[in-house]
Every structure is written in C-alpha cells, then in structure tokens.
Symmetry: C2
Subunit: 198 residues, 2 copies
Amino acid sequence: MQIVPAIQHLQDEFERLPGIGPKSAQRLVYWVLNHDRASAKELSDAIMQAKDTVHFCKQCFNYAEDDLCPICASPKRDHSIICVVSEPRDIPPIESTGTFNGLYHVLNGVLAPLEGVGPDDLHIKELMARLANGEVKEVILATNPDVEGETTASYLARLIRPLGIKVTRLASGLPVGGDLEFADEVTLGRAIESRREI
Amino acid sequence: MQIVPAIQHLQDEFERLPGIGPKSAQRLVYWVLNHDRASAKELSDAIMQAKDTVHFCKQCFNYAEDDLCPICASPKRDHSIICVVSEPRDIPPIESTGTFNGLYHVLNGVLAPLEGVGPDDLHIKELMARLANGEVKEVILATNPDVEGETTASYLARLIRPLGIKVTRLASGLPVGGDLEFADEVTLGRAIESRREI
C-alpha cells in the first residue's frame, strides 16, 4: 500500500499504545489530520508536559509535580491513617469512593519471589520510617486480593503489628449489585466468613 | 479527587480522541508515565509531524507530503482509470485489496442537500477537469452504498457518461464468508438482481 510516511509513522506510534489496534490507530490518525493544528499541539504538548513535570512524591511515591503529591501536601487529610497500595494507579479509584481521607504509601509493586522481587525492591523501608514517629494509628493494606497481593499484605502485617499500629485489609465479598449465582466460590466463601450482623 | 494537574490535563486530552473513554485515557496516561522520555517524545513529535507535513494532493485530494500523493506520483499506476471516493480514509481499504491499480479522486464528502452540502462543496469541478483530457477510460464510483453515497454516484454518473467515459459502481451483494440467513433483505435483493453465471 502506498501511504504517506508521516501518516504511517503516526499510526505505528499510536499502535504502540495499550489497547490501540490498527483500526483504532487509524481513527486517531484521522482525528489528528482532521482537527486544527492547535488541537494537535495541545495533545502533543500535554504528553511531554506530563512526562517532564511528573515524578514521584518524596513521602508516599504517588505521582507528584512538587516534592509532595497533592494528597500528602493537603492539610485537610488525616495523617494518622495510611493506605498502602502497590501502584500509583490504585489511588484514583480509592479517592473516587470518597470514603478515605488519610494518606497513601505506594510500594511500587508486590512481593514476587519467582520474578526476583523481594522486600528491598519495594518502598517498605520508607513505609517503616513513616510509621516510626508514632503519629500513625492505622495502616490499611490495599494490595490486590490475589496471591501476590495477599502475600505482600501478610508480610507487611507481620512487620507493622509489633509497632502497636492497627493493621487492616480491604474487605473481600460480593460486589455491590452483583449476583450470588455468578460469584466465584472463593469470593462467596470469603463473603460467608466475613458475614456481619444487621 | 486530588490529582496532579499535568496528569489530569493529559487524561482530558486523551479523552477527546475518538473511541477513548475515561478508563482507556487513564491507561494511556500511565503508558506515558511508565515509559522512558524518548518514547513519549516520539509519540508527541509524530503527532505534530503528521499535522505539519501532511496536506492534500493537488490532483486527487488524498493526503500527501509533496504536491502529489504517493499514488498520483507513482509511474506504475494506471492513469486511465479513476476511483472516486468520498474521503481519504476510504483509500487504504481499497489499496489493501490489491485489486485496483488506477488513480483516485477524493470528493471530500457526499451530496447532502438537507445539511447544505451541494455539488460546489465537493471536488467535482476538479474531477471533471481531470476527465477533460481524454486519457481516462473508466471512472469507478466508490462512494458508500447508502442513500447519500448512491445519490452522489447517480449525480456523477449523469455528469460523466456524456463524455463517453465508462462509469462503474462497486458491486453490492453478500459479504464473502457471510451467511444468507443473516443478510438484510436489501443486500440479499441486490445479490439476487446482480447474480452472475458460473
């Protein structure tokens, strides 16, 4: 096919993005070509701006533009409770629930001995340092409810409990609006074990 | 939600793209943040490069980097047959069939009187000028097989036939690999009317 090189190149670039196949990439290329230069420039600049201004928060390792991320820097947040997550991308869904007003700590992964990821590869030392001043009363371990997430949570719980800090884990159970019939047995088992009086 | 401004801005920019919802936009943002600067720069540059170097072919109104698009500029193409399409995006699927070796002409739309699109809004004058030198033997009208596409094709056929040039239309019928049971009645009707001896 005889295609204009700049178009082919842009299509190849879009196809490298996650979830973008050849057809979607083509649609994105036509979007760029059919919109005015200012629109393309804004998209192009936003990419480099994010890349160049975003780094990690010095305290919690969330994404940040300044030394501290907006959450760590906020005087309205409760500094006595820390929610531990594995990746920065786990923070927005928790924030959007509106039920948590504490701080975060990003581990940057989970323990995975088979892939060579040990405690020293995660921001665990930095978490323990944050807990040392006695200000923190509770740590919520919000790693994923899968094997590696559970292992990491257990490991951290064993480290933190001796400090006299309350350690909690997100509840497992049926999703709200879900259907008993279609729940997997492990989830349903957890929901039964963790049943609560009403 | 307290989110880093540069991240929010990039996510908003990605969400403006066609077929990209909030979740996909977030995935694209994380792709940018998790890859090296060179990857982000290549994507960012490819967008502006396409925007700044691509314009329309002076002859056929396909996308081009030079005065002529690669197809019009190629000495290997058959200049005696022109395939008329409504948009540049209709060209790659025809090219990828490998069954057409002529030139193209992009109308830049279809006749849509209700939306105020008349013959003067399309590149019809330029098409007639290309047909005037007597070199062209056949014009294939490859507008979409919908109401506006058919109307536009009929209009063009009436203009071109008096020049003694053969005017053809893409065949309508069952898609290859399709199923009689699931064909709509109009398509099936066309397939019966256009049946051919074997």
